[in-house]
């Protein structure tokens, strides 16, 4: 299904996912997933709830074993700890009681896996301040992280993931729970960092639209199967229909993309509600 376009000589790829399938509780959650990400590339991982995005991230991180296939990160097979990957998980519950300031969370990105208590205050503080500046989070550096807004917390978590200077940044639905403005700011921030520091970004989302201006390529996941390529290559009725196994229309309205399923005939389009376990495509809301 993959449609590689850029000349991807495998040696240069920062991430090479090759024929990965994952079975969980007797169900094939991911089927023969294959795509490649080049250094500095901005890739969207698009799919509705339950499509398998988080599972794919967990495989890339080495937290979930795949049944078949292989994953190469920076040309090497996975190990238990992959320092070249930075990760922002989907669910981080930041309790207001947590005795952590924003800067503490960022500092944990530097050395949170180490034994002992932190030493070298000055150098550590400098690195943390620089990182907070880079994500425009210096203003709330000393606030309790649990009291920050969703968008502010997202910036702090991105700084946490970036401070160890990864070459591949995985972000699991960082735009969920953000309003349109915060969404735009976070996307612009990520695009800038990817460009400036040549960090490859793989970002999951259930809606393509916020990522359209910055995405180099995308990987579309539906019911565990994937198609990858540029937006123009993947977001097409034929490709998505094959992926979903049912007829799907792709509409472009005011520069936004709508993927609509469930057309029963020429009479009209029934817009299918996406519930938690839906296999059908996302119905992108117009905003």
């Amino acid at each position: 299904m993959s449609v590689p376009t850029l000349d991807p000589s495998a040696d240069d790829a920062i991430l090479d996912v090759d024929g990965v399938s994952v079975w969980l509780s007797g169900r094939e959650v991911l089927h023969d997933v294959r795509f490649r990400i080049m250094p500095g590339e901005f890739t969207g991982l698009i799919g509705s709830n339950g499509a398998g995005k988080t599972t794919l991230f967990r495989v890339i991180l080495g937290l979930q074993a795949s049944s078949t296939g292989s994953v190469l990160v920076g040309g090497r097979p996975l190990t238990r700890r992959n320092p070249i990957i930075g990760y922002v998980p989907q669910k981080v519950f930041l309790d207001p009681d947590m005795p952590l300031r924003a800067r503490d969370v960022v500092a944990l990105g530097l050395d949170g896996h180490r034994l002992g208590v932190p030493l070298g205050w000055g150098r550590r503080r400098q690195a943390v301040d620089a990182m907070l500046d880079a994500v425009d989070a210096r203003r709330f550096a000393d606030a309790r992280v649990g009291n920050l807004s969703g968008g502010e917390q997202q910036r702090v978590l991105i700084a946490h993931a970036l401070i160890s200077r990864p070459r591949l940044l995985l972000l699991d639905e960082p735009l969920a729970n953000l309003d349109i403005r915060a969404e735009g700011e976070v996307v612009a921030l990520l695009a800038r960092i990817a460009r400036e520091q040549r960090i490859a970004v793989l970002i999951s989302a259930h809606d393509v639209n916020p990522l359209l201006p910055v995405m180099d390529r995308l990987v579309y996941v539906a019911a565990g199967k994937t198609a990858s390529g540029t937006t123009a290559e993947v977001i097409r009725a034929e490709v998505l229909s094959a992926l979903y196994g049912q007829h799907v229309d792709v509409l472009r309205v005011h520069g936004r993309i709508l993927v609509v399923a469930g057309a029963e005939g020429p009479s009209g389009v029934t817009v299918e509600e996406t519930d938690g376990a839906a296999v059908g495509p996302d119905i992108v809301s117009l905003r």
């Binding site: 967990r58 991180l61 080495g62 937290l63 238990r80 700890r81 992959n82 990957i85 990760y87 998980p89 669910k91 981080v92 519950f93 930041l94 309790d95 009681d97 947590m98 005795p99 952590l100 300031r101 503490d104 969370v105 944990l108 050395d111 949170g112 896996h113 180490r114 034994l115 002992g116 208590v117 932190p118 000393d142 606030a143 309790r144 946490h160």
Partner: protein
Amino acid sequence: MNQVLRVLFAPGFFASGPVHAALVVGAVVALVTGAVGVFTVIRGQAFAGHALGEVGSAGGSAAFLGGANPLWGFMGIAVVAAGLIELLGLHRPRARDVATGLVLGAGLGLAALFLYLDATSSSTTGVAVTILFGSLFAVSQQMLPSIVALSAVSLVVIAVCYRMLLLSSLSSDLAAARGVPVRALGIAYLVIMAVAVSLAAETIGAILATALVVGPPATALRLTKRPGGALVVAGLIGVAAVWLGIVLAYDSYYWPPAGHGWPVSFFVVALVFLFYLVAGAVTGIAQARRSRRSESASRLAASGCAEHPGDAA
């Protein structure tokens, strides 16, 4: 000055051997439970901590039957219970709570048996009260080295795992992705918590142990937003509660009914609770004052904004 001292400290306070031992044990144990307890609270394991304390009463009463110090009983059974909780609880927090409840029930059943046997086999009354509610003035001086050593080991383990514990409290996925052995860390933490709870049980009793493990840390979390600060503040609050509790209990020999001191544990637990309430009030007032100040500041800014008359409306 002397007058004041005489009112605060009843005659003989500074000369009493049991008081000295109690002050040392109380301080050491409070420092450990403070540091360990901060993670108990932020990892959401207060129920497990409470269960380990209560289950410990089975071990304490069994140790009494065998003629050993209750501390060894508290600790032996608390560590076993911690292992069982981990084994039965799997990964999900809900399953964990159920496992904790089951282990707690079984442990208390054993405690009922052993406490009954204690009561029938010995002429000493009050074994049950000592095990369940503690008697700090009766902690044997021979136990001091063991208590200090256990406390030191616990503090060292917490210091060594400090950053990993923080990272995994933030998100276990994040920690695992960074190569932190999350499961092993969780087990190690549960064992250290069992040790800390047992030390607290030796000090203020098996049932009240959680007061020391959860109370000062919860208070500290209200007062400070720094991780290292929280550990230290929790320890100091614990020490303050225990020492003040000891002083009041000693003084209470002179209160009615004369000749019968009130239990130390009562004072310690009451002070822990009082500190928590006071900390809540203090932070509440500070917050209200801060928001009032920023509100009046923004009102001032709005009224002073002649260029943007629309803003004030």
